[in-house]
């Protein structure tokens, strides 16, 4: 790769000190606020399990923050250079998971390297957004009137290859996020209306075609979503209990550590995918509104970064990170409140999980990186 090509009038590595003057402190503040809330909430959620997962979450977050700082300091064009390489590596890891992954509850999602267990699918989100950002960085110039069917082939492939691999694990939630992030970036790059309509139709037909190929439990989830109370002790149990937890929080919540649904383990996956129901039960509508406000502010701040990036790669990276944060938050909270079907999607910085925390901080690091080098008139 021609990495020595000058990149226009850009601040050199030595000028990163000046860049830090533009460090997006508000984003850092929002991230830290949500992280702190997440740890506090986890401390309550893990009481019944007698496993202080919030401590290990703190370690993960500390690690994540360090990673984010490191990423922020690096010139983001480094990522432009290594984007495809990184993508290739992640795809290989995903293949490795399918072959050698650890089988947990019928799914192969974990890869064990030495002492570390991690989920390559979390990295796939970053890999896809970097790869797409790089692709559009170069390609967008040629498609000023938007992407047509043929020209979409490459970005769609970039999105779908890891998505399909993840779906094979199976991990419907993460696959969905990958597709959502990819789709958001593609839409951001502008797609011709005709093509959009066509893809929409094909997508619908495709999902109809894919239906019989879904795992039975995945099908069950969608069916359950359409009628959650229909089988409240069986497949609808998660959705029903989660809604009971959320609703029973009422306006002000039951108070930290007082959630009966949490304490007596009626909530499944209460410190990972259903962490938001713990929050909703204990802090009520007011607490939920505050948390949603934090996420909204974070997304808005991230969009501002995306809008003010210095160049296309930065725009797309920031948009990708924004999309990742938004879709995670929206799908997760939507599922917990019964607006969306139950899919295994974490709530950024609230759900327990090392891989997820690292992936989010990775994204935040990229966002800060772009923000620090934003375009200034």
């Amino acid at each position: 790769m021609a990495l020595d090509v000058p990149l226009g009038r850009l601040p050199s590595a030595s000028s990163s000190g000046r860049a830090f003057a533009r460090f997006p402190w508000h984003i850092a503040f929002l991230v830290l606020a949500i992280s702190a809330t997440g740890i506090w909430n986890l401390a309550s959620a893990s009481r019944s399990a007698h496993a202080p997962v919030w401590i290990s979450q703190m370690w993960w977050m500390a690690g994540g923050a360090a990673l984010a700082l490191a990423i922020a300091v690096l010139d983001y064009r480094t990522f432009l250079r290594i984007a495809y390489l990184f993508y290739l590596a992640v795809v290989l890891l995903l293949l490795a998971v399918l072959v050698r992954g650890r089988l947990v509850m019928g799914a192969r999602r974990w890869l064990t390297v030495g002492p570390i267990n991690f989920q390559p699918s979390e990295l796939a989100k970053i890999a896809v957004l970097l790869a797409l950002a790089r692709y559009f960085h170069y390609d967008l110039e040629k498609r000023r009137d938007g992407y047509g069917l043929l020209s979409l082939a490459v970005p769609m492939a970039i999105t779908l290859v890891p998505a399909v691999l993840i779906l094979k694990e199976p991990d419907l939630g993460t696959a969905l996020i990958v597709v959502a992030v990819g789709a958001t970036m593609i839409l951001f790059a502008k797609v011709k209306w005709r093509t959009l309509a066509l893809v929409g139709c094909v997508g619908l037909a495709g999902s109809a075609f894919a239906w019989p190929h879904l795992k039975p439990y995945q099908r069950k989830r969608v069916e359950t979503f359409l009628n959650p109370e229909g089988d409240s002790l069986g497949a609808g149990y998660h959705a029903t209990q989660s809604m009971i937890a959320v609703g029973s929080g009422q306006a002000l919540g039951k108070g930290w550590g007082q959630g009966t649904q949490t304490l007596l383990s009626f909530l499944p996956e209460q410190h990972t995918d259903f962490i938001f129901s713990v929050w909703a039960e204990e802090h009520g509508f007011v607490g939920c509104a505050a948390l949603i406000l934090l996420y909204f502010l974070l997304v808005a701040a991230a969009l501002t970064v995306a809008g003010n990036a210095r160049e296309r790669f930065g725009h797309f990276v920031a948009v990708g990170v924004t999309a990742m944060l938004f879709w995670h938050a929206f799908i997760n909270m939507g599922m917990v409140t019964g607006v969306l079907p139950v899919v295994g999607v974490t709530l950024p910085l609230m759900s327990y999980g090392g891989s997820s925390v690292i992936a989010v901080y990775f994204g935040i690091g990229l966002l800060a990186n772009v923000g620090m080098r934003r375009f200034v008139n």
Partner: protein, 751 residues
């Protein structure tokens, strides 16, 4: 690799920045949707979800209420509860070994084939969460089996023995039809009952599967009252159903709700009389019914055959049940109210009254009996083939002349007989408060027109007049009829005096209920009673052999034909059981002021005089013996109190408690208390009987001391300061009257 295109700062931004606004708009909208959803769940429907969250962790356990007792008029317990050791199996805990465990149990506890089959069925049917739910494999194992089980307990994972309260009918079949029995509630029935209870706003908890419910008799009639209200125990459970006793989620005062025991049913039956009647009555099938003609309360009700309610209450095998169902004697039939019979000669009192009241026969009138009666070419024969000659009503009833009544029947016609039968309570239910009572048949001309091929013929009234033909009465109607003769009142017969709560307070009582009064011409009743008196007390009377020495009893025998007479009268032993006549006897005593009516029906036993009257006579005699005995006991108690009560005053304060404990009197502390009610002012006690009794008491030298010991015990709360008798008297007023079951005087204190 491609060269990075020179993108001038700002060029990309101009194109791409607006697109971020679109994204922002989409994100805002999405978050607003979430907020709206949260508002819906938490604010609009928060209450509902809060309730459901609470329901999640509150598990309500039932604390079963004690079912009310059934007791006789003297508070003798007839029906109570006992623990039944039920064996349950929880499939989860025996897992793959379950079938093996079941067969082991089957051998250990000697299962019936259908019990084994049922257990295996339940085992196969329990899947998923049901595996955690214990089910009953065998009820009511014996103590020996319990020991055997305990010894093998370790080899039988998942098996538990649960003591559950079970209805205990202390006198078995003897109380059978009246008390009834219970068994397990059915699923549909449970739903229906629970719905009814909900609609009625009942405070009782809904029935659950496995509950027992009253099926027949009083158990069914008073199911709601006997049942009581179950209590509740609330515990916190987690999602797996594990109890969390340390949790404080349920406030202390809501964790336990005590059960309220059911009401006790106090019967009007005197069980001593019942047991005596049961013992005395020789019948295979039949009824002995004793009723107080002053109130309509039933004093004894033997109804045979009856299945054992202890068996029927969920302890019966299919084979045994089959046997009961197929028994030609129909043990499930409550004969006293559910079966009717020709009254035979006992019906002649109705004919007599009708004839006297309708004026077709004048008091003092006579009829000539040649031994037969001719009407329209048909010849009816009299009981006595040679004939009774010229005979008046007293002799006709006493000797049970048929021709006399053929003649009256001929003069009356069916309608007028029927009219008086109806007035005396025949032809419609007596109102006895148990399900399934039939009305019997009191046919008039219209009835015959409707039911008999060929319609009414006047000759039918001739048959009717002697209680044959188509008239049918239940034993209960017979008792009401003779009760009306005895007292002038047509009673609604009742077997329950009142319902009491556990403290003995009356919650509901059932006062005597009149259904009508006989409004007879002067002389009618006397004329008929003369005949009934003669039947028992005159040498020509049919029941002369059963006369009583001390009490004047009036009665009427009856022999009800079951099959048409052939050319020759056969002896009972010459006929098949089901072709033999029914023997009736209905009586009351004392004649002057009747206190008891006894009706005896001995099915297929032959003559009333020899097969029903002796039982009735013995029952009447025993009743008056009991009366005398109770009277004596009461008198003795009164005198004892009056005797010991007055000099007791100083002793009350001084008597050491030890005296009471040392004295055999301590065993009967009720007596002095009840007796104190008799005013102390009655003064000089009549000492003779009391002294005689005290003489039998070796350890107490003076009557006063002995009394003082007992009285101070019972009057304890107010003892030290009490200036004598008053407080003890106050106490006594609340205590029930002395138990009538106290043994005869003198017998109770000989240590």
């Amino acid at each position: 690799m491609p060269v990075v295109p020179p993108t001038a700062p700002g060029t990309a931004q101009r194109a791409l920045k607006p697109r971020t606004y679109w994204m922002g708009a989409v994100a805002t909208l999405a978050f607003l949707v979430l907020l709206g959803r949260l508002y819906h769940l938490q604010i609009l429907h928060g209450d509902e979800y809060k309730e459901r969250a609470d329901e999640n962790f509150v598990k309500e356990l039932r604390v079963p209420a004690d079912r009310g007792l059934v007791i006789d008029r003297n508070h003798k317990v007839l029906v109570d509860s006992r623990p039944s050791y039920d064996v349950t199996l929880t499939p989860y805990f025996c897992a793959k070994r379950c079938p093996e465990v079941v067969s082991q149990l089957s051998a250990l506890l000697s299962f019936e084939p259908d019990e084994l089959e049922r257990a295996q069925g339940r085992l196969a049917a329990s899947r998923g969460l049901a595996r955690f739910k214990p089910f009953t494999v065998k009820v009511d194992i014996t103590r020996e089996e319990l020991d055997l089980f305990e010894a093998h307990k370790l080899d039988l994972p998942g098996v538990d023995v649960q003591p559950t309260p079970h209805r205990n009918y202390r006198y078995g079949a003897s109380s059978g039809h009246l008390v009834g029995y219970m068994n397990e509630i059915g699923a549909d029935e449970m739903e229906r009952l629970n719905e009814e209870m909900r609609d009625a706003g009942s405070s009782a908890l809904p029935y659950q599967l496995g509950d027992y419910i009253g099926r027949r008799g009083l158990e069914r009639r008073f199911e709601a009252e006997l049942r009581g209200v179950d209590g509740k125990k609330r515990v916190v459970v987690d999602a797996r159903g594990n109890a969390k006793p340390e949790s404080s989620l349920i406030p202390e005062d809501q964790r336990f709700e005590a059960s309220r025991p059911g009401l006790n049913a106090v019967l009007s039956i005197d069980w001593r009389l019942q047991e005596f009647a049961e013992k005395t009555f020789p019948a295979t099938a039949g009824v002995v019914l004793a009723m107080d003609p002053r109130t309509g309360y039933i004093l004894a009700l033997v109804d045979r055959p009856a299945p054992d309610p202890n068996k029927l209450s969920g302890r019966i095998t299919r084979k045994e049940l089959e046997a009961i169902r197929k028994d030609p004697l129909q043990p499930e039939l409550f004969r006293a109210i559910q079966q009717h019979y020709h009254p035979g000669s006992t019906f002649k009192v109705v004919t007599s009254i009708a004839a006297l009241e309708e004026g077709v026969f004048k008091p003092g009138g006579t009829v000539y009996c040649p031994g037969y009666f001719f009407l329209g070419g048909h010849r009816w024969r009299c009981d006595k083939e040679k004939g009774h000659g010229t005979i008046d009503l007293e002799h006709a009833l006493g000797a049970s002349c048929d021709v006399f009544f053929y003649d009256l029947g001929n003069r009356l016609g069916a309608d007028r007989i029927s009219k008086w039968g109806n007035l005396l309570g025949l032809g419609h239910p007596t109102g006895f408060d148990l399900a399934g009572e039939i009305s019997g048949v009191m046919p008039d001309a219209a009835w015959h027109q409707k039911h008999i091929p060929g319609g009414y013929a006047h000759g039918m009234s001739v048959n009717l007049a002697i209680g044959q033909g188509d008239v049918n009465v239940t034993p209960m109607q017979q008792a009401v009829l003779y009760g009306a003769l005895a007292s002038g009142v047509v009673w609604k017969p009742q077997a329950v005096l009142r319902l009491e709560d556990a403290k003995g307070q009356t919650v509901k009582d059932f006062p005597p209920a009149e259904r009508g009064r006989l409004n007879l011409k002067p002389g009618t009743r006397e004329e008929v009673l003369k005949g009934l008196e003669a039947a028992v007390n005159e040498p020509f009377g049919t029941a002369y052999a059963q006369r009583l020495k001390d009490v004047k009893m009036a009665g009427k025998t009856g022999t009800a034909q079951v099959v048409a007479l052939g050319a020759h009268r056969l002896k009972a032993w010459q006929m098949g059981y089901f072709e033999r006549d029914h023997a009736w006897f209905a009586a009351f005593a004392p004649l002057e002021a009747p206190e008891i009516v006894v009706v005896v029906l001995n099915e297929h036993a032959g003559f009333g005089a020899s097969n029903a009257a002796p039982t009735a006579s013995a029952v009447v005699k025993y009743w008056f013996d009991l009366q005398k005995q109770d009277q004596a006991a009461k008198l003795a108690a009164e005198q004892q109190a009056a005797n010991g009560g007055v000099p007791l005053a100083p002793a009350l304060v001084s008597a050491p408690a030890g005296t009471a404990a040392a004295t055999p009197l301590a065993a009967a502390p009720i007596q002095p208390v009840g007796a104190v009610v008799i005013p102390a002012a009655a003064g000089a006690p009549s000492p003779s009987p009391a002294r005689a009794r005290h003489g039998a008491e070796p350890s107490t030298p003076s009557p006063g001391e002995g009394q003082g010991g007992a009285a101070s015990r019972t009057a304890k709360p107010s003892a030290p300061a009490a200036p004598g008798i008053a407080p003890a008297g106050g106490d006594g007023a609340e205590t029930p009257a002395p138990r009538t079951s106290t043994p005869t005087p003198g017998g109770n204190r000989g240590a």
